[in-house]
Chain length 354, copies 2
C-alpha cells in the first residue's frame, strides 16, 4: 500500500514538473526559435527520468508536520528536482562524466550535436558551455517554481532560509568532494564529511526540513527529521558508492566502475585503502582516477576492494544507519501516515539494486 | 556634481556587498576551514573591482519611480552585482578567458593553485570545476541578498518576476552568443539580437525595470525605461566590442585583441566582414577564434577591420543610441534627480576609454 502512495506521489510530482517546464520552455522559446534545442534538452533531462527522492522527502516532511495534502505542496516539493537537475548537469561537467541516467550527459549531448553539424570551434568546449548555462537555468527555474507554487507567503518565508542553507551546503559539499579528489583523499573521516554535506544533508535532511518549514513544524519534529535524515542520507550515499564501483550499468545508467575512473574518494575507497596490503594499495593508487582504466583494470581494482572486506563493512554501515534513521521516527511528534511513508522511503532509497 | 552622486552610490553599494559577503563567507567557512580558499576567492572577486553599473541602474530606476533613498534599496540593487559575478565567472569558463579585470580568471586562479600544490588530476579540470561551483554560489547569494535586503514583501513580490525574466534572458543571450560563435556568425541582424539579450536587457533595461518594480512605477515610466535602457544597453555592448578588439589591456583588464582570439561574433565583426574584400574576409575567417593568434596576427586583423570602416560605423551607432536613450527620459514621468543621474550614467557606461 505504501508503495502505491509513493508511486502516486511521483506521478503528481511529474505532473507539476511538466506543467512548470511547459511554461518555462515557452518563455525561453519566445526569445527565438533557435532556443528550442536547449528547451528540448531541458525537458527531456527533467521529465524522462529521475527517482524524485528529494521531492518525496520534502512532501512527507510537510505532511509529518500536519500540512494538508495539496497540489501547491507537491509543486513546491517538485521544485527540488530542478535544483537537483542543476547539480547533476554541473556535476557531470565537473567529473567529465559522459553518461547520466543511461544517456549522454548534457555536455556530451551538445558536444556531439556540435560535431555532427560540423560547427566551428571545439565540440567539447561547446558542450561544456551549454551545460554550464543549462545548469544555471535549472537553478533559476527551481527558485521560480517554488515561488510560484502557491504555498502562500508565510510558508515561503519559512521555507526560504532552509532552501538557502541547502543550496550553500550543496555547493560546499561539491567543493569538498572535488578538492578531496585533487588531494588524493584517503581518510575515512574526511570521506564521511563529504558524504554528510554532499548527500546526507542535501538529499534527505534539508528536503525534510524544507517540508517541515512549509508545514510550520515544531522544533522537536525538526530534530526528529535530522535524526532520521542524516543517517539515512549517509546510507543512501554509501549505497551509491557501492553502485559506483560494483553496480550493473543497466541499472545505474553509468558505465561499470565509473567512480574508479573518476577517482572518487568515497568511504568505500577509504576503507579499501586502509585494508589493502602494500601491493593492493599501490594498485589502487595507480588505478583510481585513471580515465583510461579499462574493463580488466576495473575488474582488478574491484577484486582488491572486495578482498579487503570493504564492501561488507559498507553494507553493515548502511544497515546500521537505516536502523538508526527509522528509530528516530518513533515518538509522538511524527504523524503516523508520514511515518509509514518515511519508513518506506528509507528502504527505497537504500535498496540493493543487484 | 552628478559624478559625485554616482561615486557616493558606488561606495554604498560596495559597503552593502561587503556586509553581505562577510556574513555569507562566515556561513561557508562554518562547513570547514578548508572552505576558506573558496571564500577568499569569492570576496576578492566581488569586492576588489567592478563598475557597479547594474546596481546603479536598478537604484535610479527605483528613485525615478519616486522610491525613497534607503539602504535597503541600495542592498537590493547591489544584489545584481552577485548575479553578475555568476555570469562573469561562468562566462570565463565558457570562453576559456584566462584574465578578468586584470587578474587571473577564477578557473585560472584555481588551476594554478592546483598546479602549485602538486595535486592529483588535471589542474585545468580542477579550475573549471571550482569556477562552475563558485558561479552557482554567486547565483544563490544574489537571491539571498535581495531577499534579505529589507525592501519589504510587497516590493519583493513585484521585483521577483522581473528578476526571473532577467535571469532567463541572460542565460538565453549567453546561449545565443555561444551558438553564434559555433555557427561562425556573420549576420549583422543576428549579432544585434545577441547584443540585445546578452547585454542591452541584462545590463540596463532589466536592472531599471527591477528598480521600477521596487518603486511601484506606473506603466508609462516602465516604458520610458525601455526607451532609454535598450538603446543605451546596445551602445554599451558596442563600446565593449570596440574595446575587445582595440582596447588598452591596462584599461580593459584583458589581453589585447582577446575577443578576436575567442572568435566573438560581434556587431563590429559582422560589419567588418561585410566591408572586407575577399582577401580580408578570408584572413578574418582564418584568424577569428584562433587561440594561437599572436600580437602580429591581432595587429593584422585590426588593420583589416579598420580599413573597412567598421569602427567608425560602430562609433556612429553608439552616439546615435546614446542620443535616443537620453531623449527617452524627456517627459514628466521621470523624477528630475533620477533623470540627471541616468544621463550621467549613459555617458559613464559608453565612454571611450582611449
Amino acid at each position: 500500500m505504501l508503495d502505491a502512495v509513493t508511486t502516486e506521489l511521483r506521478v503528481r510530482v511529474d505532473a507539476e514538473l511538466r506543467r512548470f517546464m511547459v511554461e518555462a520552455g515557452a518563455a525561453l522559446n519566445a526569445v527565438g526559435s533557435d532556443l528550442e534545442t536547449l528547451t528540448e534538452a531541458a525537458h527531456s533531462f527533467v521529465l524522462d527520468t529521475g527517482k524524485r527522492l528529494r521531492p518525496a522527502f520534502c512532501y512527507w516532511g510537510a505532511r509529518a508536520a500536519g500540512a494538508p495534502d495539496k497540489d501547491s505542496l507537491v509543486a513546491a516539493a517538485a521544485s527540488l528536482e530542478l535544483l537537483h537537475a542543476c547539480a547533476l548537469v554541473h556535476d557531470d561537467v565537473i567529473d567529465r562524466s559522459a553518461m547520466r541516467r543511461g544517456r549522454p550527459a548534457v555536455h556530451e549531448h551538445f558536444a556531439r550535436l556540435h560535431e555532427a553539424r560540423g560547427w566551428s570551434g571545439a565540440p567539447d568546449a561547446y558542450g561544456d558551455a551549454i551545460a554550464v548555462l543549462l545548469g544555471d537555468l535549472f537553478l533559476v527555474w527551481a527558485e521560480m517554481m517554488i515561488n510560484g507554487s502557491g504555498i502562500g507567503d508565510p510558508a515561503l518565508a519559512r521555507a526560504r532560509p532552509v532552501l538557502d542553507l541547502m543550496r550553500v551546503e550543496l555547493m560546499a559539499g561539491q567543493y569538498l568532494d572535488v578538492t578531496e579528489q585533487a588531494l588524493g583523499g584517503g581518510s575515512l573521516e574526511r570521506a564521511l564529511r563529504v558524504t554528510r554535506y554532499k548527500t546526507a544533508k542535501y538529499t534527505v535532511e534539508r528536503p525534510l526540513h524544507l517540508g517541515a518549514a512549509i508545514g510550520d513544524a515544531p522544533p522537536e519534529l525538526v530534530a526528529a527529521m535530522s535524526g532520521y535524515g542524516l543517517p539515512l542520507g549517509e546510507a543512501f550515499q554509501l549505497r551509491d558508492d557501492l553502485l559506483g564501483v560494483f553496480g550493473d550499468p543497466d541499472l545505474t545508467g553509468k558505465p561499470a566502475g565509473d567512480d574508479l575512473r573518476e577517482g572518487k574518494r568515497t568511504v568505500l575507497i577509504a576503507l579499501a585503502v586502509e585494508a589493502a596490503d602494500p601491493a593492493g594499495r599501490s594498485a589502487l593508487s595507480a588505478g583510481l582516477g585513471d580515465p583510461a582504466l579499462d574493463k580488466r583494470g576495473v575488474e582488478r581494482l574491484r577484486e582488491i576492494i572486495s578482498a579487503g572486506g570493504a564492501p561488507v563493512r559498507v553494507e553493515a554501515m548502511i544497515s546500521d544507519r537505516v536502523g538508526t534513521a527509522v528509530a528516530a521516527l518513533e515518538g509522538d511528534s511524527v504523524d503516523p501516515d508520514a511515518r509509514r511513508a518515511l519508513v518506506d522511503l528509507a528502504t527505497a532509497a537504500t535498496l540493493r539494486a543487484d
